[in-house]
Symmetry: C2
Subunit: 406 residues, 2 copies
């Protein structure tokens, strides 16, 4: 390690220790990011020129050893347990690591281990249950009141999260060209906000599918409260069970959970349910080039999740010859959305600690901060894909239908 | 063939002849389109309910026999030679055939034969020479005065071709976010209109590559005439020879000629020449699902050409981890563009007959009409893809940068 200095609080130089060799090895494997390392005994290992305000502190020897063995899988666990602490701003620390990793095919939060299991219907149920059914009360603490757990759309970066989530729903409706009286199917409807919005403001009838029991239960309650039960039907069922004929197909934030092995089947479902002049929109987290999520995120946070590249996504569309009309990348909007969520999450820290425990809180903070940084650094993308049937000529002449110059 | 009637001019029924069996076989293979067939001896074979105004006439037995052997390869040849004639509107006739072919994996103009040769630099030169160097005077007869031989952009469908080609250039400049003083490289610059437009109206410096000698020669002449030679350099060279560092990469209507085997190399060229904050735009004919051009188009009109699907196109972008910002499908605009070209082409028929010969005129009319119908029926697409480097965060917040609400 050229230039690495090993310091004690009083900057007394000491001979190189076994621990400092492990630290040097780990730092080298992630591209030598400019961060300070503080060991359990107070030893400071600092690269010259690194910002003194960003440090990673190991509370025990075992944490350093585990990180050495498998940086990617252990960082999240060590951080959640408190054996690894970040001093200074967590987001800035993670960003430093991500940028240092540029071009290196390993990443502490999102990475390459190809350990995904295939998502059949029973595994999908299990996966979705473990993430979405941990309690509506928890999500209510840091999502907007409509409880949209997907990227918002900020026509102006300074608008509120609430306004941006409404703008997102409206943007999706515009892109789908919804007309009053039409039939819409939604695959993966979360807590039902978009389905209710489409029915209320665009006068359509909606069948909305979701396999998360807690989400469907709350969505039905809202539909009843708002007098929309007759026009919005929430169905606790897998997307593979969609039946009927619809003018529009919409799916916001579900494809991440579908798994590439099921894309062609999803395309078949859409092919089977879309009318001749039907339009579709899929909104999903994606990537520039293929990679799986990190083991830690995949095991602890989002089992079965996989953000596809556009090339991989085309397996949904090409076999049935769907025509892609419009693709937009909104990754900066997810960065902004996650800033809002993380801010609210941190403000609710005490409540979340009481609701679960500090290790849960720390794991989720790391997941939110890591996601924020992934979108900020271009490690993750957010694609909105609008499509229609190949023979449909009733497609808009230009994008004026979205941007209101008609 | 249930319901096919064989008629003479005076509707006298006759026993089924060998010729009528060939006709029935050919019609069945292309999905039984509702068109009348007229044989060399005046026999009329008409499906019930078919529009009497659309007929295909065989001048000789040999033409019917050749079409029977290889409908896809021979139709163009037979039509060009005059042995096959279409009575009624050619575009309507071809549209009837395309729609009848829906779902059938053969098409008379664009189809499935995988006979493309790989496009190395010398073959590229040969291919481009055979299409683009047949004389600027010929193209001047039916293109707009700027000589843009790619899809125009019609913000209003009723605008003139001239206005729509200017709108297209402006649209491309907006999507590229060109700023005065920037350096732009154009791969495949045609007769130079876009390069000159960017320099003149956006104040950028352009290096424009093209391997068509006739096009480069005219482009240089125009640059000199307009006093832009100092700011626009036309280089008679293959895109693989691009050197330098640029703020923007643009390619309008070249990818069709590149060939999928070279997409990754093209991506490498872009990766090598795009600055850290650089943007790129590729405008290309494409498809919903993979297929090659018909043998006839590939051999007689556009050697080496291949319109890719989005999935195939991603081979340009994914290996270097480019970030796709925006994809728009403008196929209706190419339909409209081709209507203008075909109208002007037909108006110039006599001149073109004198310049070449009637067989050439007929072949090109079929190519233009067939292309028009391919875009109209959704057999071909037109993709504009905007991209940037993966780490570039100086990307627009929303599409206001294109649609002028900033």
């Amino acid at each position: 390690m050229n230039g690495l200095e090993i310091k004690e609080p009083f900057h007394v130089r000491r001979p190189v220790s076994p621990a400092s060799l492990l630290v040097q090895n780990i730092l080298a494997r992630v591209g030598n990011p400019p961060v300070r390392v503080i060991l359990w005994d107070g030893t400071v290992i600092a690269p010259p020129g690194g910002p003194p305000e960003l440090s990673i502190r190991f509370r025990k020897k075992s944490a350093l050893f585990h990180l050495f063995l498998d940086p990617e899988a252990y960082f999240g666990e060590g951080y959640a347990s408190g054996l690894i602490e970040i001093e200074g701003d967590l987001v800035r620390f993670l960003e430093t690591i991500y940028l240092s990793l540029s071009g290196i095919k390993i990443s502490p939060i999102w990475s390459l281990f190809p350990k995904r299991a295939r998502n059949n219907q029973s595994r999908s149920l299990q996966n979705i249950h473990s993430h979405y059914d941990i309690g509506n009360a928890f999500y209510r603490l840091w999502l907007d009141p409509e409880m949209l757990y997907t990227c918002a759309y900020f026509p102006r970066p300074d608008m509120s999260l609430e306004a941006a989530q409404t703008a997102k729903m409206d943007y999706v409706c515009h892109k789908l060209q919804l007309r009053a009286g039409e039939e819409v199917v939604e695959a993966g409807c979360g807590w039902g906000a978009l389905a209710l919005y489409m029915a209320k403001y665009y006068g359509v009838r909606v069948k909305a599918y979701n396999i998360s029991r807690e989400q469907v239960s709350r969505a039905r309650k809202r539909a009843a409260e708002e007098g929309l039960s007759g026009r919005v039907e929430f169905i606790e069922e897998d997307y593979r069970k969609i039946r009927g004929q619809f003018d529009a197909f919409v799916s916001v934030g579900m494809l991440e959970h579908v798994g590439p092995e099921n894309y062609q089947a999803l395309g078949g479902v859409i092919h089977g349910c879309l009318k001749e002049r039907g339009r579709g929109l899929i909104h999903t987290i994606g990537r520039n080039s293929p990679a799986t999520l990190s083991e830690w995120v995949e095991q602890k946070i989002f089992p079965g999740a996989y953000p596809p590249t556009l090339k991989e996504m085309m397996a949904v569309f090409e076999p049935c010859s769907f025509s892609i009309c419009d693709i937009e990348n909104l990754r900066l909007h997810y960065w902004k959305t996650l800033e809002h969520w993380l801010f609210r999450f941190d403000a609710a820290e005490e409540t979340i600690n009481r609701m679960f425990d500090p290790a849960f809180t720390r794991a989720w903070r790391l997941y939110l901060a890591g996601s924020l940084v992934a979108f900020k650094t271009g490690t993750l993308q957010l694609f909105q894909v609008v499509f229609t049937r190949d023979r449909n000529n009733e497609i808009p002449w230009s994008r004026d239908y979205i941007y209101g110059k008609v």
